[in-house]
């Protein structure tokens, strides 16, 4: 049993940089794999609706007739199941998190009409 066992750590702390980040001045850099939010490349999407069926929280709504893909950002749990099950690989996970908001909203994306049918 000893005294002053913490002294070395204490001295090291006195003369080293802080372990925390000076947050607003020094923004957080997310690693590439961070599951922040889901994005869909609307030009490639074929509106098969698999992502909507697989989503554990029912956050994705796909409307094949209107060619829209909607996501409830605050229901999404960023599990990546839609990304893994997308047959066209057009859904991807991006590192930045959803911005805080006053109310839960649904984001809707519409596919631009295509001139060339072979593009899809």
């Amino acid at each position: 049993m000893k005294l002053l066992t913490f002294a070395k750590t204490e001295l090291h702390n006195l003369f080293s940089k802080p372990a925390t980040r000076l947050y607003p001045q020094e923004p957080r850099v997310y690693p590439e794999r961070t599951r922040g939010h889901v994005e869909n490349d609307m030009d490639v999407c074929v509106f098969c609706g698999l992502c909507s069926k697989k989503c554990p929280t029912g956050a994705i709504i796909v409307d094949r007739a209107a060619k829209t893909w909607s996501i409830k950002r605050f229901s999404c749990i960023q599990c990546g199941y839609c990304v893994a099950s997308c047959p066209k690989k057009c859904i991807s996970m991006r590192p930045d998190y959803t911005q805080p908001a006053g109310e839960k909203s649904t984001e809707t994306f519409t596919q631009a009409p295509k001139d060339d049918q072979s593009a899809s």
Binding site: F6, P31, T34, P56
Partner: protein, 359 residues
């Protein structure tokens, strides 16, 4: 005989991160009996298996607990894989082992911090959590999440770790090991810290056995049992010895957990050395039909997953026996005869995870 009085402890108490209520029957300052009541944060996750298909339930299973989320997901996946007769690729087994040990590291470091906080050593708490932060960063870089990892799936893993990433992790772990060696002196040798830990909360080997305790709580009472020896994931290829202590007091539990931290770092080193290349997942076809008991060694002890499938995409039943639930009777035994001032530390030494217990 002095007059008996009852002091309610919890559900909200500064030392408890999660709600559990104890009625402490006191004689003066001495605890004679502790009567627990749980059920404040029941979420019905086991019932949810009837609504989510067996693939989706992985994401529910890992939300049973925020600390051992990886192991909950893995335990459920391994149970379903056994029901379906799926053999996962060897690389996936090693990845699971590495992530399991990283979970153990961050859970034990968190516990050390909470213990330091419980006996009022704030800077020791900060130092433990500073180290834990590096492990959470490693988790974020490899899985994409700091608390919920979502890398398990039935049939393997969703993400791989390449050689550079693993080497980088080993470098960070070497630093952590050095710092931990320094910090463990304060936990194990410091006079002030020892005076709060030594000689309180005894649990004999016989009591630990009879009350069905698990994990470091049991091993600190001298029972040599570790579910990792059953060889799930890649543990059968890895060389490690179960860490036990014979003292059975709070100090022994701290000692066992600190030694397990070094052991976890060693297991990760071995796993990185031996990891084979190849696929990380196999395609799974069909639906589970049958039942299986899977046992997993979590940071807090042995967890049991029972899965019963009926040949459709919805499982009949999932049951999780979590380590804290098994440790509660043992904890009540340690409280008997202790001083009121020691109660918070004694509750903490079992590393309670009430969210796990109530699911």
């Amino acid at each position: 005989m002095s007059k008996r009085s009852i002091v309610p402890f919890g559900p909200h108490h500064p030392v408890l991160p999660e709600p559990i209520h104890l009625d402490l029957v006191l004689e003066d300052e001495k605890v004679v009996e502790a009567v627990p009541s749980i059920g404040f944060i029941h979420r019905g996750l086991e019932k949810l298996v009837e609504k989510k298909d067996f693939n989706e339930y992985v994401y529910v299973a890992e939300r049973i607990c925020g600390i051992c989320s990886f192991m909950h997901g893995m335990g459920y996946c391994e149970a379903v894989e056994h029901v379906m007769g799926v053999e996962i690729p060897p690389r996936a087994k090693y990845l699971r082992t590495i992530w399991c040990e990283m979970s153990r590291l961050h859970s034990h470091l968190m516990w050390l911090g909470l213990l330091a906080d419980a006996f009022g050593f704030e800077s020791l708490f900060m130092q433990s959590w500073r180290m834990r932060e590096k492990i959470l960063d490693m988790f974020e870089a490899s899985t994409g999440g700091r608390v919920i990892f979502s890398v398990n799936k039935i049939g393997g893993e969703m993400k791989d770790m390449d050689g550079d990433m693993l080497k980088g992790f080993l470098k960070i772990l070497n630093e952590i090991e050095k710092e931990l060696r320094e910090l463990s002196k304060t936990f194990l040798d410091n006079k002030a810290v020892n005076s709060r830990l030594q000689g309180v909360g005894f649990l004999t080997k016989q009591q630990a056995h009879d009350l069905g305790t698990v994990g470091p709580f049991m091993r600190a009472s001298g029972i040599d049992r570790d579910t990792r020896n059953m060889g799930y994931a890649a543990y059968s290829d890895i060389d490690f010895e179960t860490i036990t202590s014979n003292a059975g007091d709070s100090y022994a539990r701290t000692e066992v957990r600190i030694k397990e931290l070094f052991q976890s770092i060693d297991i990760i080193r071995q796993a990185v050395e031996k990891i084979p290349s190849g696929e990380i997942a196999v395609p799974v076809k069909g639906f589970p039909d049958g039942e299986y008991f899977m046992r997993v060694e979590q940071p807090r002890g042995e967890a049991v997953y029972y899965v019963k499938g009926n040949g459709t995409k919805f499982l009949d039943r999932v049951r999780v026996r979590t380590p804290t639930f098994a440790n509660l009777p043992g904890m009540l035994e340690t409280l008997k005869g202790s001083q009121l001032a020691d109660v918070p530390i004694l509750i903490l030494t079992i590393d309670p995870c009430i969210s796990c217990t109530e699911r």
